[in-house]
Symmetry: C2
Subunit: 145 residues, 2 copies
């Protein structure tokens, strides 16, 4: 049986984060010692490691909740888990594409400044005039409330 601190160090998840996961129901309520301190089994360690790994891969807590409930029921078809992972992959690919475009633009912006005064500054200039921008970005909002 591990204390919350040991569980934290062994999984690489901060103590308040573990309590938070319990609070939102991602982890079951832990057993308690005589003095009311949480005690964790090997199973809990595995579950938390799963969560942590999925978080590293960018899965939302909601997606992880779904994956956990799938893995709790190993006779189910695996299509649902696959779909979640594929959605995640699509997300990552789209973020990747956008970031690559941003990187290009930032590089152009930063290469050098024409002058040494703000009035000649390429950074400010590019940011102020979208038409200087090569890339196509999605809209931030769609206006109208």
């Amino acid at each position: 049986m591990l204390t919350i601190g040991k569980l934290g160090t062994s999984t690489g998840v901060k103590v308040p984060t573990i309590r938070y996961y319990e609070q939102i129901g991602l982890l079951p309520e832990a057993e308690r010692s005589a003095g009311n301190q949480r005690l964790y089994t090997h199973k809990a360690h595995e579950r938390l490691a799963f969560i942590r790994h999925a978080r590293e891969l960018g899965f939302s807590l909601e997606a992880i909740r779904d994956l956990l409930s799938l893995s709790d029921d190993p006779d189910q078809p695996c299509a649902a888990a696959d779909a979640i992972a594929k959605a995640q992959l699509a997300e990552v690919e789209s973020r990747l594409a956008r970031l690559t475009a941003l990187k290009t633009e930032l590089e152009r912006m930063v290469v050098q400044c024409a002058g040494d005064r703000i009035s000649d500054c390429r950074v400010i200039e590019v940011l102020g005039d979208h038409s200087l921008c090569v890339t196509n970005h999605p809209t931030i909002g769609d206006a109208g409330q």
Copy 2:
């Protein structure tokens, strides 16, 4: 003079977001019509377009606040603006590197499932066992409160 709705559609920023930017002081308080509705000048449109463009490039509102105060004062040296942009570029490059690694791993995960039951599901398997993972991720937490 534009209403907030027109300003929103013309810049691609949602109406509540514009009000939010005013509230946190990124945009100056707008003039009001007789009926207390906000009215925007061309200057405000430019400023909001600048903000929006910078947000698209991933700059934080704090960074944008700094850039705006720099551009309000065009005789200052441009080094500070350059530094902000360079920091942003470094950020983007680091996110890009991590995302690329994640993509590889997700692809491996998704390629196909060995079986059609969860118990054989590669997605669940990979997430449950970090040692199946090739890439090096940063820790989510450093444990201990």
